[in-house]
Symmetry: D3
Amino acid sequence: MARHDGREATELRNIQIEKDYLIHPEGSVLITVGQTKVICTATIEAKVPHFLRGQGKGWVTAEYSMLPRATNQRTQREASRGKIGGRTMEIQRLIGRALRAVIDLEKLGERTIWVDCDVIQADGGTRTASITGAFVALSLACAKLDLPVFPVTDYLAATSVGVLEEAGAVLDLDYSEDSKAEVDMNLVMTGAGQFVEIQGTGEEATFSRAQLNELLDLGEAGIQRLVAVQKEVLGDISSRIGEKAGTIQ
Amino acid sequence: MARHDGREATELRNIQIEKDYLIHPEGSVLITVGQTKVICTATIEAKVPHFLRGQGKGWVTAEYSMLPRATNQRTQREASRGKIGGRTMEIQRLIGRALRAVIDLEKLGERTIWVDCDVIQADGGTRTASITGAFVALSLACAKLDLPVFPVTDYLAATSVGVLEEAGAVLDLDYSEDSKAEVDMNLVMTGAGQFVEIQGTGEEATFSRAQLNELLDLGEAGIQRLVAVQKEVLGDISSRIGEKAGTIQ
Amino acid sequence: MARHDGREATELRNIQIEKDYLIHPEGSVLITVGQTKVICTATIEAKVPHFLRGQGKGWVTAEYSMLPRATNQRTQREASRGKIGGRTMEIQRLIGRALRAVIDLEKLGERTIWVDCDVIQADGGTRTASITGAFVALSLACAKLDLPVFPVTDYLAATSVGVLEEAGAVLDLDYSEDSKAEVDMNLVMTGAGQFVEIQGTGEEATFSRAQLNELLDLGEAGIQRLVAVQKEVLGDISSRIGEKAGTIQ
Amino acid sequence: MARHDGREATELRNIQIEKDYLIHPEGSVLITVGQTKVICTATIEAKVPHFLRGQGKGWVTAEYSMLPRATNQRTQREASRGKIGGRTMEIQRLIGRALRAVIDLEKLGERTIWVDCDVIQADGGTRTASITGAFVALSLACAKLDLPVFPVTDYLAATSVGVLEEAGAVLDLDYSEDSKAEVDMNLVMTGAGQFVEIQGTGEEATFSRAQLNELLDLGEAGIQRLVAVQKEVLGDISSRIGEKAGTIQ
Amino acid sequence: MARHDGREATELRNIQIEKDYLIHPEGSVLITVGQTKVICTATIEAKVPHFLRGQGKGWVTAEYSMLPRATNQRTQREASRGKIGGRTMEIQRLIGRALRAVIDLEKLGERTIWVDCDVIQADGGTRTASITGAFVALSLACAKLDLPVFPVTDYLAATSVGVLEEAGAVLDLDYSEDSKAEVDMNLVMTGAGQFVEIQGTGEEATFSRAQLNELLDLGEAGIQRLVAVQKEVLGDISSRIGEKAGTIQ
Amino acid sequence: MARHDGREATELRNIQIEKDYLIHPEGSVLITVGQTKVICTATIEAKVPHFLRGQGKGWVTAEYSMLPRATNQRTQREASRGKIGGRTMEIQRLIGRALRAVIDLEKLGERTIWVDCDVIQADGGTRTASITGAFVALSLACAKLDLPVFPVTDYLAATSVGVLEEAGAVLDLDYSEDSKAEVDMNLVMTGAGQFVEIQGTGEEATFSRAQLNELLDLGEAGIQRLVAVQKEVLGDISSRIGEKAGTIQ
């Protein structure tokens, strides 16, 4: 049965990545996935957190936030509530961890890259759009550093897959799909087709091993298409990312 | 002597107001003033704060924030620090107070309008751009309400004026001018040419009554031009704003 | 190659679940998994959170904490720091979500069950031990309610799997294994062998689909053994949990 | 028409400044303006904030607070609420900024002067009384430092002006006047008659340029009388403040 | 051997209680004990905390604070630190508990009395001066209520006793004595000579039963003299406090 | 008249101290006093707080907490509320101060001992059980340090005494007794029979000097029995605690 917006089960939403979106950051993009829009920036700081000092290694960390009216109902600002919520913490830890899987921290040297993902408009998949966009912002920022070896070792992109009652397993859920999905899974993979993160949740439900395999197949295919978009946006910088990167082996 | 970007002392930067910038809010704009960009949204909530309940009156309140990399150096998020800084508080109180001067709260009825001003890119004048943009978002949101009398009573716009050592009194300072100005003044005025707020500060310096008068003249002229832009952007809604509004009397 | 404590790759650590460990809570256990010890309690409150009022449904929520010297180095209390860390938030959200997959919230009625998991001693796998123990505490608490239909619909247990350089894929990692694992995955499953949560992370590394499958096989087998321990501890209450529960189908 | 307490429109309330009010601080006063009473202290610390280290310059910063029963209704303590409100932040930033306009930070050397303004009893004009009193406390503290050149360069005082429906433009509003004023303006000026701060607000109303000029005239005259009181209180120290200080030029 | 200020071991410092010190509160005093000065106010609120609603009983609660420069070194404001320190909490809990021992909460009716003790200048004994002063403020506030039976049942006053190396057991320690005392004890007693609180601490030292008895003798005598001062200050209100109150039995 | 659990007025509850309860801390016990159970740990850190640096002295500090379901009703976590309550602060300050009375901080050297008391199950007397248990954990930790002179100078134990309407003065109150006691007193004493802390409170009531003496007699006897238990548990370490320690003189 068809999806509410007419997409095939295996179809991504429209993707656009506008690079150098802002004038100040070392790297920045506006990524649009359907109606979801996220500004991703990468800032290079010439020092590392306490626990890494003097080891010659760098660090990548991420922060994530939504504008109050990115959502259909206005959400109270975390600054007003005086603390960061659990969902935000989970997402920003995920983004940072995922990016660190494709950056050689020794080659980065004693620098921190701060990645900021600010959701301007939300329609499902904000954390995966953030990862896909942040990878590009991070690569743009690294290209501004005069390093002997480019520290980015492979592409990195993310998408969601899920199970809908009426449509079965589908790729890249928008908000209306996500809110009624029985199973919801976020996948982060490299250009070479390796897994970085799998986060699958039965939403007050459960799923079988067979369903899991079907979802993984959908996600792998979708991520390869996202990587193709990243390559095109990065242009010349692409050639500096590891030779075998972006090739399923 | 000329300003660093070649503008006349009496010249505003380029202004653009893109209306209905986001899909979710009742009113939204992206306002661009030179390199300063602010997303302003207006959200209508069908209740009022505690202190107004049962009085048949509405309320307008504002929140202001900057993305971490809106600025040249990354600024730590207020949510991460766990509290809102003094500068942010001052600005959001100013925006709310200013907007309340041109809205008839009785005609609004028992509703709150939440105005959110999120600075995407900062190059000086973020608080005045926020007010100028927020007025349009607020008017767009009010136009969605089915009210017998339109509650917006006049236009409202804001700009800055200041004294530079090399150029004397100038209009609409960008960041590089603002950071070395001897006197810095923000003006909020109505379409009819009345003052709503004057905030003038000798930045570790002082200013004379004569200088004050020169600055007020510059600001009045600039605000009339901002109001003209607002009128054009609002189109048909313009006719619903008070009859004499926007006319110097 | 052998694991540092002589276990087979497919072997769990010793498990003990001491039920009714405390006198005050409606349900409580001390679960011991190797050297990891967690006190899990379930508290029944006769009301539900705001967002559920008047719907005739209940809620299950969880909190997780570690004593400062549960760990090898003393950890500062979150109460002293004035906020709950990201790791704690992630874990307590996971525990609550997982438990809600095997409880019929309509049958629970307008009640909240607060599950508290307090780690007395940590040696890896504290979040999975918490889930396995919390399920028993929750079932004990439900048995104290005089409900027409028992609201727990199946068993729920969790364990970790991971990839070690020297030993390959292994089950139930202790702290020394976990801290050097290349891949780390937490699995939560039901007695019927359905997945509730998969959280797999390449720790600054990545993993292939083949490795994923090997890990899932190990985890499924381990969880069935944990469910067997739960059944024995619950004794008579076991018969009240859904008929087909605990049977791979 | 007369004011409710019989004052002329151009008349200040009774002013008293009791110097060396406390035994511990380097400078302290109790300032009384009508029924408004503020304890102002100045503390000298032999270091500067991070952003000024090693520049040979000093710093002046201010904090402001009200006792809970300074007001007619008890106000909850900000320490109990765990955060400082927006109004308090605005006021303490204003006090600090204003004082820095009349102190030569290079001549102060690498020292911080902490100014504390604690309102014991409030009846309108607490921020302007704080500035007028703080100036004296600051001067007393500077006189205790053995500096080659006295760092205070001119007098500094503040008052409010406003527009009342029944009495027109008036000077130095008390609480009952302030709470119904249509326009409310705070002025901070030097002894030489220069402006340091103008903060004028139409309280959900607006004001014309002509009204603004009338208010500025009233305020200038009032501040000169406040400076005369400061001179008398400071006695011998007066001669150390800049030669031309306190003289309209 | 003599005390540093020439007092006998059994001698209190000079005491003054200035009643109706502020215009707004229902009851207020400035209490001066030597160089220690505390403003104590009592505020009557026409409701009680949640846990007492509908029981026909009232409540008395206290808050305590020090101005930053009440002390020799400036103390950071608790509002700035965002939390109330342990010492402040201990003291305000003590003040509230002590006052509740001499007020009949049923006779007070469903009202809360908020007692605020703000230390303007500190020279030892701020918590005991707060209790002695707060009792008078509380009685003044109760006298403003039109109650059939006066709810204050006896006098209440407090002082400190301690052991000094050079002078042995002494009454009413000032700051210089307190900071080197081996034993430090605060006593709160009623007019009838009953104990309300004893808090005795060996400051990194210990004390014998014999020393304890000597200290209690000194304290009892001192408190009777404080009660005499309270009686005189309260004047006519004195006759409304319980008939046998203030008489050792 | 008999106590509800059949104890004599002079009788302690059953005491057990299980030493080396946890594997990670330098010293740890589980102390059980009737139904009250507290885990006490001592952690040695090789540095001291700021205010002690460079003086060659050590420090002992304590933290106290209760698991949410240690109590009959679930208590919200202080970490969730974002701040530590007044009662907790009072207790942890008391524990730290008491322990410092029997440790020679010079002999400890520049080290901090962190004592953590976590109440697993509460039935009255948690603060006194914490002190009695913490003393043993502290001694165990000190025994792991290779110090020329053992820094613990005497035993330290604590108990409560109180006045019950039906049973008069009694020793070691459980929760049901404590909650209706007219007078409640906590005593901390050394093995040599010296007082370290006396905290006696008339709970909205008062007590006479005669009652005070009766309570002190009961408490002294109880503490001697607690010290005897500590000696037995410490075994060989006992001989390293000051020669005359634990002997009434």
